[in-house]
């Protein structure tokens, strides 16, 4: 098999790199704690996630050796992240937009009468009288255009 260029010898990094990356991780953790105390409004989540992503990438690249390993493993790792992202993003198209009302339905809802409380007399006739519409069923025309 010619594609197997990976050797089984362990890849050893100098201690200084481990310590350096470790320091950056601690620094970024402090950054997360510091940022949590400041209100960035809509950017709160974005900033926290950005720092966390940088930290996770450093761990994967240096501590898990993906930076130096066969690029196939990097591809596998990234593809797992892509699939996770697909799952979360498309699910959020549902969870964030559930209950949204589009133009095709909005007319009927806009024209509807909404009571804060029911009228004292809740019979059909009383409600119809208050809306000035006929209760004679022969006159009722159901509008199905919307």
């Amino acid at each position: 098999m010619t594609e197997n260029t990976h050797t089984n010898e362990p890849h050893v990094l100098p201690l200084s790199i481990y310590l350096g990356i470790g320091s950056i991780l601690i620094f970024l953790t402090a950054g997360t704690v510091y940022a949590a105390g400041i209100d960035f409004g809509a950017y709160n989540l974005l900033i926290a996630m950005a720092i966390a992503t940088i930290k996770a990438s450093l761990v994967a690249m240096y501590f898990m050796h993906l930076k130096y390993d066969n690029k196939l493993y990097l591809l596998l790792f990234l593809s797992a992240i892509v699939f996770l992202a697909i799952f979360i993003v498309i699910t959020m198209f549902d969870t964030l937009r559930r209950g949204d009302i589009y133009e095709i339905k909005s007319g009927a809802i806009r024209d509807a009468v909404i009571y804060d409380s029911l009228p004292a007399d809740t019979t059909t006739h009383a409600i119809a009288d208050s809306l000035s519409i006929s209760t004679d069923t022969t006159d009722v025309v159901i509008d199905t255009t919307h």
Binding site: N4, S79, F83, G99, D100
Partner: protein
């Protein structure tokens, strides 16, 4: 006259212990064959009993609670214990390593472990059967599954464990295909069966963990009440459906892709014709694998998910039709000017093309958002997925079983009985399920125990069809088992095919090849290489 080889993988070691501790991929394939066919029988019995109950609009012999349990167990057993593992674990295990010229899979012990994990998962499923059954449907939707008093935990734990078996098999195949191909077997000289198994394995490894975590969440929800799916505690029951279908829609392709892989082999071997569009078929397998991950929400059009998400999913769903269509057209084009032999595997192949096309095209109806609103939860859906899963996967599996049966056991089955059985299954299947398209379109809801008198003729005809199918399956069991004792020896290559498995003895020797074979021609080079059938040359 062909003769059986003196020693082969079946008789090289003796005793039950040699089977239970074997790491030979062929023997593990046979262990899977026995256990999976047992559960196919159990799931099939539930199907026949269900159809019998539906013969009349009123109660015939079981009450509604029992009816709910029957359809749940039919679905759960057929999906998790039969159709998902069937082709990869039986035929994939047996054939794939030989096809690529390897002596075994990359991790033989892991392979045996996956069978034991399968059996442990199956035990949990059987336990739920005897411990009062389950009545949620095979999808275990919340909130009902978190509140019903039936044995939801044990069967979901079973499915959770079965997922690990699936992952082990998938991982094994990926590494095997990458690392153990024989010299000369480049990616585009691999048989399409291997491509199909590879695409399936990718889905297994990527999707099955999601099922695992989903079912685990469901169990935690039931036991501890964390509220992730409970609106009263800020949870979301529809989120369960997202989790579930993110695995289970790709799982549909875990079921159908191996079926398609088998069809590619059979259609070339039994028409002695080079496959039309090799690369298109290979890439379309990967295309289906990818597309399978972005369409799950089409199972949820009426669940209350946002209209935006429903529109996106409907749009994306149509993309699946493209690679599926590519395959079907390529298979049909392969037949053109081939020297077609109407053997049993070829009959199954033709049946597949017919039934899968109906299943696939009705899938396009259902992928269209507006049509689905009308047809959702009717028998139209039941008919659609049975046309894909039975008409597609099971028919391909049966074809594959007949195609490789002589290789597995070294003996031929009775061709006449096999063709009669194939015909009975084909006719019975269409009687059972085409009827369901009609009554579904007329509004007959699925999963109803009692139904309107107007649907009686349809249900009755559907039930009669299930009996025809059952007779076909019983006949198949008879002649296949009989062939083990007095079938005539098949010789190395009864179909005159070109892939590696047909160049070794039937049954294969313990380690497949004495020396690793060199692949010097493509798997379907029938225009360049002549391979004679060992059946006709005698």
């Amino acid at each position: 006259m062909n003769k059986m080889p003196e020693t082969h993988y079946l008789n090289c070691k003796k005793g039950i212990k040699s089977w239970l501790t074997t790491v030979d991929h062929k023997r593990i394939g046979i262990l899977y064959l026995l256990s999976i066919m047992f559960f196919f029988f159990v799931g099939g019995m539930f199907a026949v009993l269900l159809r019998l109950e539906l013969l009349t609009p009123d109660k015939l012999y079981i009450d509604s609670d029992m009816y709910n349990q029957f359809f749940t167990l039919h679905g759960a057993i057929m999906i998790f214990l039969f159709i998902i593992p069937a082709i990869p674990a039986i035929l994939g295990n047996f054939i794939l390593p030989i096809m690529i010229g390897a002596k075994d899979v990359a991790f033989p012990r892991l392979n045996l472990a996956s069978w034991y994990i399968y059996m442990v998962g199956a035990l949990f499923a059987v336990f739920s059967l005897v411990a009062g059954g389950v009545d949620t449907g095979w999808t275990f939707y919340t909130p009902y599954s978190t509140t019903t008093s039936t044995s939801v935990i044990s069967i979901t734990l079973g499915a959770f464990i079965l997922g690990f078996s699936s992952i082990c098999t998938g991982l094994n195949f990926i590494v095997t295909v990458h690392k153990l191909r024989s010299p000369g077997m480049t990616w585009f000289k691999m048989p399409l069966f291997v491509w199909g198994m590879y695409a399936t394995a990718l889905i297994q490894v990527l999707a099955a963990p999601v099922l695992g975590i989903t079912l685990l969440l469901l169990i935690i929800e039931r036991v501890v009440g964390i509220g992730i799916f409970d609106p009263a505690m800020g949870g979301d029951p529809v989120l369960y459906q997202h989790f579930f279908w993110f695995y289970s829609h790709p799982a549909v392709y875990i079921m159908i892709l191996p079926g398609m892989a088998i069809i590619s082999e059979m259609i070339t071997a039994h028409s002695h014709k080079k496959i039309f569009g090799y690369k298109a078929i290979a890439y379309s397998s990967l295309g289906i694998a990818f597309a399978s991950f972005i369409v799950w929400g089409h199972h949820m059009f009426t669940s209350g998910q946002s209209e935006l998400a429903a529109m996106i999913f409907s749009f994306l769903t149509f993309f699946v039709a493209i690679p599926s269509g590519i395959k079907v057209f390529n298979w049909v084009a392969t037949l053109y000017k081939g020297s077609i032999a109407f053997t049993t595997p070829m009959l199954y192949t033709l049946a597949f093309l017919f039934l899968f096309s109906i299943g696939g095209l009705t899938g396009i109806f259902l992928g269209a958002l507006s049509v689905d609103i009308h047809l959702h939860d009717t028998y139209f859906i039941v008919a659609h997925f049975h046309y894909v899963m039975v008409g597609g996967t099971v028919i391909a599996f049966l074809g594959g079983l007949h195609h490789w049966w002589p290789k597995m056991w070294g003996r031929m089955y009775n061709e006449t009985l096999a063709k009669i059985s194939c015909g009975l299954i084909f006719v019975g299947f269409n009687m059972t399920f085409f009827t369901q398209f009609i009554m579904g379109a007329q509004g007959m809801p699925r999963r109803y125990h009692l139904y309107d008198e107007a649907f009686r003729p349809f249900h009755a005809f559907s039930t009669y069809g299930s009996w025809v199918m059952a007779v076909g399956f019983c006949l198949m069991a008879y002649y296949l088992i009989r062939s083990l004792y007095n079938g005539k020896p098949a010789g190395n290559n009864p179909w005159g095919a070109l892939t590696h498995e047909w160049q070794i003895t039937s049954p294969p020797p313990e380690h497949n090849f004495e020396t690793i074979p060199i692949t010097d021609h493509g798997p379907y080079d029938y225009d360049k290489v002549v391979a004679k059938s060992t059946l006709t040359e005698n």
